[in-house]
């Protein structure tokens, strides 16, 4: 079930909210646990047991880690390793087996599909085991709150990757308030609008241009594809995070932020502080720092960084283009560390253009599993063997220009600050805020109602 579907909002969420708020306080975690399992089982009935086993592994080994942590460090470490290996082996098998088999020459397993959300929940579970070993979190004694932590439906499928230490207190005691709920509604609706109105449209445009590029590739058209990919992935992903944070807030949880206007970044280093923050934090905390971080020699530091970025790329998908995508960023991060960073600070507008282009081209790598296609796109971007513009493309570009401008503005803090300034100047407008939000919500509902329209057969005859 995706958040941007009618059945989620008007069946699942409606029932869940009602049951949750009717249930007595001490039952609320159990309610969340059960409905979250139902949420997962709806979309992934086959693999629900896999997730439960993963939870049990971390939960049970947690007791052993806790028991030996002070007395016998080596034994504790062994149990930590067992717990991590147990969890990672599922991820490795389901996500990467076929990739390795293909590249090594083993027999591939047909029909091996990736369990929904496994990359996210595995990382969440691991954060618990590692932090427990480090003594940074208390032992999860009771199964239900721990199970709730992992399965919590707002963040289960696509993040943010919430670390156990960030929510363990909230699991035991949290307060649901009107203010939190109102904030949750506002974030949820904003995320919904980002995904449905802007993200899906950008995706449709990119797809249409990909198709017409097969007939008449043009420089402008290729740039448009890149720009629309850039919008699509941001609105889609940050919209999803907004919805997750908003939903969490409706149930009293406060998740950490996952995006901070990544497209206003002035360097790649800056971009990765603003994009999918919980993933970068996870890698930093559980891979980069344990490897020695930057408190090692220069060469070793670069290797550590390379490891992190190889893994970051590989985490996004089991294919060469994702690895290339990760390593691609590593290269720019190293260059920025070496000298470019200082230079960029002196040239803010240029720094912004540079960052956007590197990131945008990164999405071209991200979206094309075919390496030859990536090279072809690169050539087309710079007009090598491609016409600048065709009349057909010109018409479409002009037609879509307002949409592109609106999308670009929506990537910046501008709309938010403008809105806040307006409210500060005319405080009476505050009264209309809920109405505006409600209207936006209804527009989103309209997009959900009208997006399954497929009259193909009727249309023809």
């Amino acid at each position: 079930m995706v958040f941007s579907s009618l059945i989620f909002i008007f069946a699942y969420l409606a029932v869940t909210l009602a049951v949750y708020y009717v249930a007595p306080l001490k039952w609320r975690n159990l309610v969340l646990f059960v409905v979250s399992l139902a949420f997962y089982g709806w979309g992934e009935p086959k693999y629900i047991s896999l997730m439960v086993v993963s939870i049990l592994i971390a939960y049970i080994f947690g007791f052993f880690i806790e028991k030996y942590r002070e007395k016998n460090k080596r034994l504790a470490k062994l149990f930590l390793a067992l717990s991590l290996v147990g969890n990672l082996s599922f991820l490795l098998f389901f996500k990467y087996y076929n990739f390795f088999a293909e590249n090594i020459g083993f027999a591939q397993i047909e029909g091996l599909t990736l369990p929904v959300g496994i990359s996210f929940y595995t990382f969440q579970i691991m954060s618990y085991s590692i932090d427990l070993y480090r003594g940074e979190v208390p032992l999860a004694k009771r199964f239900v709150p721990f199970g709730t932590y992992v399965t919590l439906f707002p963040q289960l499928i696509a993040g943010p990757i919430v670390r156990y230490k960030d929510v363990c207190d909230q699991l035991e005691s949290r307060k649901e308030t009107v203010s939190k709920f109102a904030f949750g509604v506002s974030r949820f609706v904003t995320g919904l609008a980002k995904k449905l109105i802007l993200g899906d449209s950008a995706a449709a445009i990119a797809e249409a241009f990909e198709r017409s590029a097969e007939f008449e590739p043009t420089v402008i058209g290729t740039w448009l594809i890149m720009i629309c990919y850039t919008f699509h992935i941001y609105f889609d992903f940050s919209g999803y995070s907004d919805m997750a944070i908003g939903l969490g807030r409706m149930f009293g949880f406060e998740f950490v932020e996952n995006f901070n206007y990544p497209y206003i970044a002035k360097s790649i280093t800056d971009f990765w502080r603003r994009w999918h923050i919980t993933l970068s934090t996870w890698f930093k905390e559980y891979v980069y720092i344990p490897l020695g971080g930057n408190r090692v020699g220069k060469i070793r530091g670069f290797i550590n960084l390379a490891t992190v970025w190889f893994l970051t790329g590989f985490w996004h998908g089991a294919d060469w283009n994702y690895i290339l995508w990760g390593v691609y960023f590593w290269v720019f991060l190293v260059i920025e560390k070496a000298f470019l960073g200082k230079l960029l600070k002196k040239l803010p507008p240029l720094a912004h253009i540079y960052s956007l282009f590197i990131v945008g081209f990164g999405w071209m790598i991200f979206f094309h599993s075919d390496l030859a296609a990536i090279a072809q796109s690169a050539k087309q971007l710079f007009g090598i063997g491609t016409a600048l513009l065709s009349e057909g493309t010109l018409y479409t570009v002009l037609r879509l220009l307002p949409f592109i401008v609106i999308s670009a503005l929506a990537c910046t803090p501008l709309p938010k600050t403008a809105f806040e300034r307006l409210l500060a100047r005319f405080p009476k407008l505050n009264a209309f805020k809920p109405l505006l939000l409600c209207l936006l919500f209804l527009v989103c509902v309209a997009y959900m109602v009208d997006n399954t329209f497929s009259p193909f057969l009727y249309y023809i005859f």
Binding site: F10, A14, F215, R399, P434, I460
Partner: protein
């Protein structure tokens, strides 16, 4: 403490969700949407197989969207919002300068894309389909006439600022059809009429108008050597039905567009024909019940049928076999004044020479529009 606006937000949101969620189950399901002119999805059956394959969850999403309360209002709200972005497009339908709705050319390309990979192969595929038309013309012992009606985007090329390089290539290819195929170039016939302001294609529907069909009828009669039998335009009594909003508009749901006028051209002998469609007798050429619905084009010959036969009792006439899609539905009433008609749906019946033989046809007519040729490939199965 909380602010009042926060409380209002929470109450508004919860009320909206609750009201829509509850009324979804209370309001009885509909089977047809008049505004969108199509059947609506019904509650899918739940069994373990459909649940585990994911088929059920897909179907229930469609069911939810189709049966959602106030669906018509939401659909209009969405197209209005899309127009507000000045994209001039919704659900793959373009909005042109003279309020003509037409399917986005990119959407056509996507259809081509599904079957073939590049422009050239697409033309190859068209060529292959045309070859089977030529072949049919050679094997048939009776004359063949081929009409491949263009799409709105081809006819009304000039009103779209959308430039379509090589847009006329398919028609150039069609013009290479051999003499045996009896090809009638309806693009050259109807585009100049459109340019001179005649109403030959609908604005909101993908079909040609009755007027457009009449021009084609005249050409077919000439081709079959019956030029002297063409019924002059003045003899018809034309009934105009206003407020027709066709399939293209239904798909786009643009809140602002000019509706079409659907014309029925009557002759005094309208009621003297015996028309059997898929075994049931029709009450004349026109099923007027459809005039009350949004699916007004189905007034012609009661919409799509597999096999329709038309005879004029008491008269011995030649038989014309029509292998067709819906474009022929408004054309056949003209031809039926001259011929006994056997009309077969080309999408389901491609063994035309066998039909011609078993019905003792004296001539065969193919009417299959360019959109169908591109997207279905059925023309290539002609035998």
């Amino acid at each position: 403490m909380y602010k009042r606006s926060e409380l209002v937000t929470v109450v508004l949101f919860c009320l909206t969700v609750a009201i829509l969620a509850v009324s979804f189950w209370i309001i009885p399901d509909k089977s047809f949407s008049e505004q969108e002119n199509r059947s609506l999805e019904q509650m899918p059956k739940l069994d373990s197989e459909s649940f585990f394959s994911g088929g059920f969850s897909k179907a229930i999403n469609v069911y939810y969207a189709d049966q959602f309360p106030l669906r018509d209002i939401f659909v209009t709200l969405k197209s209005g919002s899309e127009l507000a972005f000045l994209k001039g497009e919704n659900n793959g339908v373009l909005y042109s300068r003279n309020q003509l709705a037409v399917k986005d050319f990119n959407a056509y390309q996507s259809r081509i894309h599904i079957t073939e990979n590049t422009d050239r192969i697409y033309l190859d595929s068209l060529q292959a389909q045309l070859k089977s038309v030529d072949k049919l013309g050679e094997t048939l012992e009776v004359p063949l006439v081929t009409v491949l009606p263009p799409r709105t985007v081809d006819i009304a090329d000039s009103v779209f600022s959308y430039n379509r390089p090589d847009g006329d290539k398919p028609f150039e290819l069609m013009n290479t059809l051999g003499g045996e195929s009896g090809y009638i170039d309806t693009l050259s016939l109807l585009r100049p009429k459109y340019e001179s302001g005649e109403y030959v294609y609908y604005r909101t529907d993908h079909h040609w108008t009755t007027g457009g069909a009449y021009y084609t009828y005249c050409e077919i009669m000439k081709r079959l050597g019956r030029e002297d039998k063409i019924i002059p335009r003045e003899r018809f009594e034309i009934e105009s039905v206003a407020g027709f909003s066709g399939t293209t508009a239904a798909r786009a749901n643009f809140p602002i567009y000019q509706k079409d006028v659907l014309e029925i051209w009557h002759l005094p002998d309208d009621d003297e024909y015996e028309i059997i469609a898929d075994g049931g007798e029709l009450n004349g050429f026109y099923n007027r019940e459809y005039l009350e619905k949004s699916d007004k084009y189905s007034v012609f010959l009661d919409g799509t049928h597999d096999i329709t036969t038309i005879k004029k009792p008491g008269e011995q006439r030649d038989t014309l076999l029509v292998a067709k899609d819906s474009f022929a539905n408004c054309l056949i009433p003209f031809l039926a004044r001259e011929f006994d008609i056997v009309a077969v749906n080309l999408a389901t019946n491609t063994f035309i020479s066998a039909y011609a033989e078993s019905y003792g046809a004296d001539a065969v007519l193919i009417v299959f529009n360019t959109e169908n040729i591109i997207s279905t490939g059925h023309l290539g199965n002609l035998k």
